[in-house]
């Protein structure tokens, strides 16, 4: 007996059904993301504090987690390059030692004179803090330090790399840690003084670099200091390079922070620095 063979013909003609699983997944994903973001937005501050306390604990007690991985790359550096770097650094240390020889004497003299003229707040003692995390482990040019509410650190406190070398401000305070946003954080702008007199607007570019524009006639040289208007001596940036094209009415100053943010071990928090708080 003849039977017609069974045939299955799949005619699609380009009409595709929307996969249900994908829309359900989208819905669940969106729901999960919204719930998670709302929950985290409420508990962001304490959660951040707890996480950084954990990371600080690991860094302080083992100290090798990041260092071991960072040092791994150093093994591939050529010996000759290291020797050359060593010599260069030795030369630089010698030059800087000579330059700084009279710095402490002048600084003490400066404070003594200000006190004599009725400004006892000319020198401020800060709180020493260890750096738990620094760029490139943290983004946005931020540091995480090991002091927080426990030592009365508050948002807006200035942070120095030592003495009057200001590098940033406290932006988040947790129970035992705090976040420092460096002046070089990309997009941040603030007002400062070039050579203590010329007002400039400094803009952060990231990775410890900043820029500022000054009129073409402004006297400026590489190595000049940018500071905040305050009775206490301070430096917030140093001019590293100057771009002054001909027939241009402005000069672009390329600045750097007074300390290397990638190797900072300790910082000083200046609780009552400035008049902003």
């Amino acid at each position: 007996m003849w039977r017609e063979p069974e045939r299955s013909v799949h005619l699609d003609f380009g009409v595709r059904r929307r996969p249900r699983a994908v829309s359900r997944l989208f819905f669940l994903l969106a729901l999960f993301a919204i719930i998670a973001l709302v929950a985290v937005a409420f508990f962001r501050q304490p959660a951040g504090g707890i996480l950084w306390r954990g990371i600080g604990f690991v860094e302080n007690n083992t100290g090798f987690v990041g260092a071991a991985i960072r040092d791994f790359g150093a093994q591939f550096s050529a010996k000759a390059i290291l020797a050359e770097q060593n010599q260069e650094l030795s030369r630089r240390v010698a030059v800087l030692e000579a330059r700084n020889a009279d710095r402490d004497v002048l600084y003490e003299q400066n404070i003594a004179l200000k006190k004599q003229f009725g400004r006892p707040d000319a020198s401020r003692s800060g709180i020493l803090a260890a750096v738990i995390s620094r760029p490139p482990a943290t983004p946005y040019d931020t540091l995480v330090i090991d002091t927080g509410e426990n030592l009365a650190v508050i948002t807006g406190d200035f942070v120095s790399a030592g003495g009057g070398a200001l590098i940033g401000q406290i932006t988040d305070v947790y129970s035992t840690t705090a976040r420092v946003t460096l002046f070089s954080s990309a997009g941040n702008t603030y007002q400062a003084l070039l050579r203590g007199t010329t007002p400039v607007t400094v803009t952060g570019e990231g990775a410890g670099a900043l820029t500022a524009k000054v009129p073409a006639g402004t006297e400026v040289a590489v190595g000049d200091a940018i500071s905040f208007p305050d009775i206490a001596a301070n430096i917030s940036e140093i001019v590293a390079a100057i771009d002054a094209p001909e027939n241009n009415s402005f000069k672009t100053l390329y600045l750097r922070l007074p300390a290397n943010i990638f190797t900072l071990q300790f910082v000083e928090i200046l609780p009552s620095y400035g008049a902003g708080h």
Binding site: P136, A137, P139, N188
Partner: protein
């Protein structure tokens, strides 16, 4: 990229190592997790790193959760690419 245990652990290691070593490792971990369909790891990684790193300053301050948003975008791109590129066979393109 299909689900793979090795890639899961690689992405996880990237997210965990980021706050200790180099923050872009976290971004790589998030992308790897999203590309391998580990949605939970991708989003959780983004949320945890956002909590750790805080709100970005200046221009991106209003984003508030940049890495979580990045994870969601990576997942959407992965799903879209699955739908329109990776699984598009010859029979569907006459």
């Amino acid at each position: 990229m299909k689900k793979n245990r090795f890639i899961f652990w690689l992405a996880f290691a990237g997210v965990v190592a980021a706050p200790f070593v180099y923050w872009p490792l976290g971004v790589i971990g998030i992308v790897l997790a999203a590309a391998s369909e580990y949605w939970t790891l991708s989003i959780l990684g983004g949320v945890i790193l956002d909590v750790l790193y805080g709100v970005p300053p200046a221009n991106f301050h209003s984003v508030f959760f940049p890495l979580t948003l990045f994870a969601i975008v990576a997942i959407v791109i992965r799903i879209a690419s699955e739908k329109y590129v990776l699984k598009r066979g010859r029979e569907e393109t006459l």
